[in-house]
Symmetry: C2
Subunit: 349 residues, 2 copies
């Protein structure tokens, strides 16, 4: 790293996800190597982490700190547990040290709901933002698009979606490396007048903003690459995300079965094996690097529960990029520029 | 057919869909052969249909009638056109002869919105039903499930979803041949308390009904076969339907490209060719036989715009099954049985 520059400080929830803490520690070990401009704080039960620190040879790494957390949120726990019941969980402790300014970012491959609850209460929304939103990344024919909100808010007001558009625009500008990301509104039917009462209000508001708004986009054409950022309330957004996951998994299984049906086809399958791997990866979290909770005061990246070490490393990369890009500062600026702070959008809330 | 039994009378919109009227006439020709217990009325511009009647050898078929319609709704037309502007379209004329009792069912591979608009106004909802809903069929690992509402109502009240559940149950009982179809509620997170304000009300109401309610179901687990009938507001339901279509198409394309990448893989692809055809068919309308508009006074089946003759034939089969099964009578009965008529569900509307 360049001399004189301060290290970026990122907390990583060591107890999050299905294969914690081993997988997470392995991912952090990769990140220590790949990102020399970062310092990491592993948050979790130090007694349980110790073995893996030795195993991956990072027990005494100068850029690694530990922060003890007595408990951990299980994937089966309810979302509110990070605030009630397991107040000393690794998720809650991570949010706490970010609130205290000890780190600028928090990465967790754990329980999305619990992480959203903890950071919303402890770290709070950025000034001008009403509701933080999850920015997931989905594949399309020519690359990827960002879906905001992918599930943080089940009931939304029009003003929330307007802010999602601007937060998604800023995120896409560095994640997708697009100068002027195109913004679509998830709706039914491409016609302007179509949609439900929520999207009709949002459509009007977005049409008057200085953004690259491409109008209503249907769930099917999103996969053809119609927009860089897809805006939705968190309920429909989550339906889109989960439907994609489910159908991708079904497609792979279905194709496998179809090919197994006879020996000739089996030969074909063996030859086409790598294609399977790629199809699987399409819906996979590994390459994506986690979904940011946009609009939180502090960088918060949520990884997939079944993350691999590589996925953990990539989620860390996303956190690092967000810090380097000063994502949150830019979001606040953009909301002011577009007169889209909660106060200014009063009639849409 | 059995002697003494009356023919079932079904109108078919000859001008609907991308390849009308040729494809539609060909589908009707197949249906005339396959379903000797049905009489068909082709609705469309008689001058334009004539050639195809000759071509498929059904010009003088004793079970075929013609009903002239001067215009046709184009796929690019707005939904309201069937009531304003093109009042003499094949869709509007089809709804009109069903209203007059000349036919019991109407099949159209045309414009969904226009068909919904025309039948809602001309044929009206069944007694006790507030809003008719589209029942689409989607694949899961072990078969298919029905999604209601797949897009007819963008804004819904809790009572609408309760009625969707009962209408879906009746439809699934003959379409999927299930005695006691399981009913799931499309939501975010499997926990009972999860969802938006709409689904939370619906969850409570469905829990108290004498149905096989399996609770909240997420978009991904629906493809694992969690329920026979999936209930959703028409906005989220349409998002689910369109997302599935889009991702299925993307998967096929993506896999093709991955396999083409090198010659060895290409050999594999050639051998696995039939598997492709089957994967494609998964998201395909051909086998499904169209989606019923449930709760309309009259059987109304909507086919895919890009229907093949086989798809038209299968949509006709669905209409025939619905008539034979006395679907609408059973829906009305079921609403009364469950105290779920619009009047009785007053506090949910």
């Amino acid at each position: 790293m360049e001399p004189g520059k301060e290290l970026m400080r990122i907390a990583v929830d060591a107890m999050g996800g299905d294969y914690a803490p081993g997988i997470v520690v392995e991912g952090v070990a990769q990140a220590l190597y790949d990102y020399p401009d970062c310092e990491f704080t592993l948050v979790g039960h130090t007694g349980k982490i110790g073995f893996y620190l030795q195993k991956y040879g990072i027990a005494d790494h100068p850029r690694l700190k530990l922060h003890h957390a007595e408990t951990a949120v299980e994937m089966s726990d309810p979302s509110a547990i990070s605030l009630r019941g397991k107040k000393n969980s690794s998720i809650t402790e991570g949010a706490r040290i970010m609130k205290a300014g000890l780190v600028e970012g928090l990465v967790s491959p754990g329980h999305t709901g619990a992480l959203v609850a903890a950071t919303k209460v402890l770290n709070r929304a950025l000034p001008g933002v009403d509701r933080p939103a999850l920015g997931a990344s989905l594949p399309h024919r020519y690359g990827r698009f960002i879906l905001v909100d992918a599930g943080a808010n089940t009931d939304c007001k029009p003003g929330n979606l307007v802010q999602f558009a601007l937060m998604g625009e800023i995120y896409a500008s560095f994640y997708l490396k697009k100068e002027r990301p195109s913004i679509g509104l998830l709706s039914v039917g491409g016609e302007d007048g179509k949609g439900n009462s929520l999207t009709k209000s949002v459509f009007k508001a977005l049409s008057n903003m200085p953004i690259n708004f491409v109008g209503n986009v249907e769930g099917n054409s999103a996969f053809e690459g119609t927009c860089d950022v897809m805006i939705a309330d968190g309920f429909s957004g989550n339906v889109m995300l989960k439907t994609s996951e489910g159908l991708a998994r079904l497609s792979v299984n279905w194709l496998k079965n179809a090919i197994k049906k006879n020996a000739l086809r089996l030969t074909g399958a063996l030859l086409a094996k790598n294609a399977f791997v790629e199809l699987k990866a399409m819906g996979d979290a590994d390459e994506i690097g986690g979904a940011p909770l946009l609009g939180i005061n502090g960088v918060c990246i949520i990884g997939h529960g079944s993350s691999s070490p590589k996925a953990v490393r990539n989620a860390i990369r996303t956190a690092r990029d967000a810090i380097r890009f000063r994502m949150n500062e830019r979001i606040c600026q953009r909301l002011i520029e577009c007169h889209a702070t909660t106060e200014e959008l009063e009639d849409l809330f």
